[in-house]
């Protein structure tokens, strides 16, 4: 908002400026002179208006004349006093008194002028009010018609902040669990700010320094002045409708406290909350936190800090890639190593298994061979026995098998001996 002092002369109205130099002493304007003929006629018959009972003026004429005098006498001025009897009427206008120890004056703030005042004043507040002195003819009262109010200690702004904050809080817009994480690698950053402000310059300087691979898309809006809240809301709405941004920075560079006021506007706060992509608020260099900061997903102290929060430097990204690269290589190496180990184990198992098999076969063979050996007549022969076989190979196992002079063979363990029956057979028993 522009300074009231700069605006004061314009609000005074052209006529006031042309006719009067602002001065400390109120100037009284003489009532307009009636036309000559009418005046001379009037004076001739009844005397000057109000001079006698016969020439008495009406109440309306009195108050209207008083209004002309009073309203013509004062340029708009700042008046200091304490607020009392405050009433916000159903018709939207505010009524109260400004008073000091000795005097008071009735005051009104018309509905249409209230947008310039952050919040309604409270009873007991010390304020400076800017307005013009008027006469309310219907009641025959003087009335101070106020256009701006500034409370001591910025009380009205603080009150407005508290009200806005409470309303946003009631709607859950300040809840921490609403905060969205910023995208890790945004490609498009929308910046809602003044296209020729310091904020944009600072942000693009940071991105250049970090050699970040991002596009900045400026969505222009006035960041101070009466139209700023609406323009900021409109720009945020454009970002939503466009849909091309990964993250939004809303903010401005540092400035006077009142220059940052648009970022405390409830409409702006709600527009930030309604943003479809994560938001970073970066309002001035103030230690005071704006309402916009409270609603945004991330609050940055300055526009430069916002740019840093939104992006990663090339060095950071390279570091990240290097880390991933070594993680993947070592994991792949580990898999290869594990496979090789498994293969070695398998080979050993196969080898072990096959040698076991052979041994058991051999043992089996030996057992069988042993048994065969026992059964073999050769073993008996080896003990000194002999087997007699006929010429046809039949075993001659009784006396009756032998005939006189018969040739046969004796099989002993290491060979065959030819033999012949030379004596008569003799049966035992």
């Amino acid at each position: 908002m522009t300074s009231p002092r700069r605006r004061a002369p314009r609000r005074a109205g052209a006529a006031d400026l042309d006719l009067f130099e602002p001065s400390d002493a109120p100037r009284v304007v003489p009532p307009p002179e009636p036309a000559r003929s009418y005046v001379s006629e009037l004076i001739e018959h009844v005397g000057y208006p109000g001079e006698s009972a016969r020439s008495a003026v009406t109440v309306s004429m009195l108050t209207e004349t008083a209004r002309d005098v009073i309203e013509g006498a004062f340029i708009p001025i700042w008046v200091r006093g304490e607020v009392s009897d405050f009433k916000a009427h159903r018709n939207g206008h505010w009524y109260f008194c400004l008073r000091d120890r000795a005097a008071q004056i009735r005051c009104v703030v018309w509905n249409r002028d209230q947008f310039r005042i952050p919040a309604a004043p409270d009873n007991g507040m010390q304020v400076a009010a800017f307005g013009r002195l008027t006469v309310y003819a219907a009641r025959g009262e003087m009335q101070f018609t106020i256009a701006k109010i500034e409370a001591d200690g910025d009380g009205l702004r603080r009150k407005a902040l508290e009200i806005t904050r409470a309303r946003l809080e009631a709607d859950g817009l300040l809840a921490l669990d609403r905060k969205r994480p910023l995208p890790r690698f945004p490609r498009v950053i929308a910046v809602v700010t003044s296209p020729d402000g310091a904020a944009l310059h600072d942000i693009s300087a940071v991105l250049r320094r970090r050699s970040a691979n991002v596009r900045l898309v400026v969505v222009p809006a006035a960041v101070q002045g009466a139209s700023a809240p609406e323009e900021l809301c409109f720009a945020l709405d454009q970002v939503n409708r466009w849909g091309g941004a990964d993250v939004v920075i809303i903010g401005r560079g540092g400035g006077a406290h009142e220059d940052l006021w648009a970022f405390n506007d409830e409409r702006v706060a709600r527009a930030v909350a309604a943003c479809r992509v994560p938001t970073i608020s970066a309002v001035g260099h103030e230690i005071d936190i704006s309402i916009c900061d409270l609603v945004a997903d991330v609050r940055a102290a300055t526009p430069s800090a916002a740019a840093e929060a939104a992006t990663r430097s090339q060095a950071e990204l390279r570091g990240e890639l290097a880390q991933l690269s070594s993680r993947i290589s070592s994991a792949a190496r580990a898999v290869v190593r594990a496979s090789a180990d498994r293969l070695r184990h398998l080979a050993r198992d196969v080898a072990a298994a096959s040698s076991d098999h052979v041994a058991s076969r051999r043992a089996q063979l030996e057992t069988v061979a042993g048994r065969l050996h026992v059964l073999s007549p050769l073993a008996t022969l080896a003990r000194g026995y002999a087997v007699a076989r006929g010429e046809d190979g039949s075993t001659l196992d009784s006396v009756a098998a032998f005939r006189d002079r018969m040739s046969f063979e004796l099989v002993v363990h290491d060979g065959v001996v030819p033999a012949k029956v030379t004596r008569p057979r003799k049966e035992s028993r």
Partner: protein, 71 residues
């Protein structure tokens, strides 16, 4: 077109799968090759540093345009 962020996400997946218990050798080599390809592309993305400044323009029909700003 694959974005840098998508590539990084894929790389994380690859690393996680390679770190897991049940990866056979051929799958591991397949993942490794894919990982190397993604790393190469991502590095190219990083190197392509272009901090462009554009201005959002809304046309009368409600569509949007980007204008190169001379910032």
């Amino acid at each position: 077109m694959t974005t840098f962020e998508q590539r990084l996400a894929r790389l994380e997946e690859i690393a996680a799968e390679l770190d897991g218990d049940r990866v056979d050798l051929s799958r591991a080599l397949e993942l490794f090759e894919e990982g190397i390809e993604n790393l190469r592309a991502a590095s190219e993305d990083v190197a392509r540093a272009e901090a462009r400044v554009q201005r959002l323009i809304e046309r009368a029909d409600g569509s949007f345009d980007l204008d190169e700003s001379d910032d």
